[in-house]
């Protein structure tokens, strides 16, 4: 009951006219930058960090949360109509969504993505409101050994996005892991792969790599085959109303996606990528029409989109209750919190009740705004994509420049951005998937650090990974994920 009272108090904060304006500005801005390929919420919030010196903390966080949720909605529009994921979590949406749009089912894809985002966003926010303390208690039991086992599980599920060729997918993955290893080693303070460049000591910024691959690389690729690919932005030919069959195939996927997305997002090191992959994997396995996957299956849009939004709410759980950022966006939001001199941590809910509950309440409000903004007005957002290609991509590259140069004013970062862009171009040309690079970059160093932490704590005893029950459970799950196709095949063969 205390929670409900707090939430009511939060609505009191979020419904003040000024905070409603912040929320509205956030969701509009978020949707717009989500729609534009190459601009993600992390980048946008990073660019907006300086307003923390001019606006009060509650307003700023309501704005940021609006951007965060809005970008998830907008990202799906681009993934479906342009096949250019705005951020790594909507890569999966583009797999099936873009195929649907190519088959003239863009409207249905957009609708299932938007409604699914709303459903899962609301479920996720409910989870954030009520389940947070329980999830946190569970997540707190995780030590480095468990985190490492969790990474193993995550790496196993990455195979879902390796693309046409496992060899090329793995090459991308290991390239990403290597990029992630660049910089000072946290455990020993030794510089690795910095080639004597001081700027590389802090590592390669994942935002630079993501923007390089997705914005610069994509621009290079599209320019190189420009005359052959003028029709990249797909028109919405069908109605936005989903058919009865669409609803039947979507609603379970939404809830399954939310059920996968929220807990994984809430788990430290969860993030948004893993649950979207997992959801896709699950929907593919459960679908009555698995043959449609890869050619535009609606569950393949509904599930991952829902998982994406639910995980966005989940990521806020460790961020708000423990002060632990589990995604780039959360990390940037936390640094904004710290610039107000507010210490994130378990006390935050007590000491900054208005801020936290106002933020949570604004998420409910923002979600409704987003559904209204996105579904009927999708035509308006698509207009952003109708900007002539020469101007759109010109603008994107200038924005990409601001995102890197404006933060560090370091030519090294610009060179890195363009170099990664060149690599992204080659990867697109020779059909290497780009998503595993980002996954490897995020998960690789995490896995390494957690493994080494676990070993230091256990004084070099590798068996901790299997003697700790939680860790063992995660490893068994990972083994099952690897073996289940074989077991399933063996089982069906044995039965017949």
């Amino acid at each position: 009951m205390d929670t409900l009272a707090q939430l009511a108090n939060g609505f009191g904060v979020a419904l003040t006219p000024m905070n409603l304006v912040w929320s509205f500005t956030g969701v509009v801005l978020g949707t717009a930058i989500g729609v534009l390929p190459g601009l993600g919420p992390a980048l946008t919030i990073a660019l907006l960090l300086p307003i923390t010196y001019k606006v009060d903390a509650t307003g700023v966080f309501i704005l940021f949360a609006g951007i965060y949720y809005g970008a998830m909605y907008g990202g799906s529009t681009t993934s479906i109509l342009l096949n250019t994921p705005g951020e790594s979590a909507s890569i999966i949406t583009s797999l099936e969504g873009n195929k649907m749009a190519r088959r003239g089912r863009g409207g249905a894809a957009l609708a299932t993505a938007a409604i699914g985002s709303f459903v899962a966003g609301t479920v996720g926010t409910l989870g954030l409101t009520f389940v947070a303390p329980i999830v946190v208690d569970f997540a707190l039991k995780f030590g480095p050994a468990e985190y490492f086992s969790l990474m193993i599980l995550a790496f196993v599920t990455v195979s879902a996005v390796l693309g046409n060729s496992a060899i090329r997918g793995l090459t991308s993955l290991f390239f990403g892991i290597w990029l992630g290893l660049i910089g000072i080693d946290l455990q020993t303070g030794q510089a690795r792969f910095t080639f004597g460049i001081l700027e590389l000591l802090d590592g390669v910024n994942v935002i630079v790599v993501a923007v390089g691959l997705f914005a610069v690389g994509e621009t290079l690729y599209l320019a190189a085959r420009h005359r052959y690919g003028r029709d990249e932005i797909l028109p919405v030919k069908d109605s936005l109303w989903m058919t009865r069959e669409d609803w039947a195939r979507s609603w379970k996927a939404w809830f399954r996606g939310a059920a996968i997305g929220f807990p994984i997002g809430a788990m430290p090191a969860g993030g948004a990528e893993v649950p979207t992959f997992l959801s896709y994997y699950v929907e593919k396995k459960l679908s009555k029409k698995p043959e449609e996957f890869g050619h535009g299956a609606i569950e393949g849009v509904a599930g991952p989109e829902a998982a994406n939004n639910a995980s966005a709410a989940g990521v806020l759980v460790p961020m708000l209750t423990l002060g632990l950022p589990t995604s780039a966006t959360a990390a940037i939001m936390l640094s904004a919190l710290q610039s107000y001199g507010i210490n994130p941590g378990p006390q935050l809910l007590m000491t900054q009740a208005n801020l936290v509950w106002g933020l949570i309440a604004s998420l409910y409000i923002g979600n409704v705004m987003l559904l209204v903004l996105n579904l009927p007005l999708v035509g308006l957002w698509v207009k952003i994509l109708a900007i002539p290609a020469p101007l759109l991509y010109g603008g994107i590259l200038v924005f990409a420049t601001i995102g890197t140069y404006g933060i560090s004013q370091s030519p090294i970062d610009l060179i890195l951005l363009y170099a990664i862009g060149g690599i992204g171009f080659l990867m697109r040309k020779y059909d290497f998937p780009t998503a595993p690079v980002i996954i490897g970059m995020i998960l690789g160093p995490l896995a390494e650090q957690e493994f080494r932490r676990a070993m230091t704590i256990a004084q070099g005893d590798v068996t901790v990974l299997v003697t700790r029950p939680l860790s063992l459970t995660l490893l068994v799950l990972a083994a099952l994920a690897v073996l289940s196709p074989y077991i399933y095949r063996w089982w069906t063969r044995a039965r017949s």
Binding site: L186, L322, G323, L324, S335, S339, Q347, S408, T456
Partner: protein, 326 residues
């Protein structure tokens, strides 16, 4: 490490600044300082950035300056920013850099070609003590029992803290050293900062944790972590935490922050900036900020501060060597 060429360049830059300054001097001297340039060799949001922004706010509130512009050049504990401050900001009037102990360590560990002695120290402003904490359920009630376990088997005590070679790691090294143990053998588990280290402590995954008091204070107040010792020379008023010295560990450490002027500015310019910072540090607005942010005011200026920087360099280099990092 001043080479003849550097000296020449510095004096050249200094005289250029003088010439350039002459034309402006009328306007500049009329009002204390029009626009203060604040160089922060860290990304926005961190401790140095907060210090820089607070300096800006207090100076403005005191009407000591009209405006300020903050430039952030983050990376490698300041090792990326410092060369820029030393080279590109050389001789610039009305400019200060915020830095601190972390930079001294980062420069040594990264074998940086530039160091803080190439800047002109103005004043040490704030400090934060380090605290040793254990998880709530831990059997350790004081440093004595922790040290006993440490002496029995160094590797069995796992320490959570910030990145290797940082303030937290240095304190662990000093504690081990004071007990006659090899600091290299301490099972130090590095996290990306006090926040992430907290999670391992709250989950009772490590024996103990080391970080700035501000990082753990909330949890200690909530009773989820127990503070065993603080790294100050004497007890901090209002804090019921014994010092390391009280418990027979002759170690004292605090993470200080201060301001520096770029090389090549005139003595008069340096004097003016020092006066400005001193006046600020003694103002009520600054004291209110210290209170609000849990910072400790430890003002030190002039020759004493310059000597302090030199001694810190020597002390930290020795510890990092013993940790195998320098």
């Amino acid at each position: 490490m001043w080479t003849r060429r550097d000296m020449l360049m510095a004096s050249l830059a200094g005289s250029t600044a003088l010439v350039a300054g002459a034309g402006l001097s009328g306007r500049v001297l009329a009002q204390a300082i029009d626009t203060l340039q604040i160089f922060v060799p860290a990304a926005p949001g961190g401790g140095w950035d907060q210090t820089g922004r607070t300096i800006e706010a207090v100076l403005k509130a005191n009407k000591q300056i009209n405006a300020a512009q903050v430039t952030n050049v983050g990376g490698a504990g300041g090792a990326v920013g410092l060369p820029q401050f030393v080279n590109q900001w050389k001789g610039r009037p009305n400019s200060i850099m915020v830095a601190g102990m972390v930079m001294v360590g980062a420069l040594i560990a990264n074998k940086s070609p530039v160091n803080l002695s190439q800047t002109l120290p103005l004043a040490r402003l704030t400090g934060e003590f380090e605290v040793v904490v254990v998880p709530g359920p831990s059997p350790h009630k004081d440093m004595k029992s922790l040290v006993e376990q440490l002496k029995k088997d160094v590797g069995s005590v796992s320490w959570a803290g910030g990145s290797a070679g940082g303030t937290d790691h240095i304190l662990v090294g000093m504690i081990c050293q004071s007990q006659g143990l090899d600091p290299k053998k301490a099972a130090y588990v590095a996290f990306a900062g006090g926040g992430p280290a907290q999670a391992a402590l709250l989950g009772n995954q490590v024996t103990c944790g080391v970080s700035g008091w501000g990082e753990f204070s909330e949890q200690v107040k909530a009773g989820k972590l127990r503070a065993l010792a603080i790294s100050s020379d004497k007890r901090v008023p209002g804090l019921d935490v014994p010092t390391l010295k009280e418990q027979g560990i002759d170690v004292e450490l605090f993470n200080w922050r201060g301001v520096f002027a770029p090389p090549g500015v005139t003595d008069a310019e340096r004097e003016k900036l020092t006066k400005m910072v001193e006046a600020m540090a003694n103002s009520q607005a600054w004291k209110d900020e210290l209170q609000k942010r849990d910072w400790m005011g430890i003002l030190l200026t002039g020759k004493a501060y310059e000597d302090y920087i030199k001694s810190e360099n020597v002390r930290i280099e020795a510890i990092l060597k013993n940790l195998g990092l320098a």
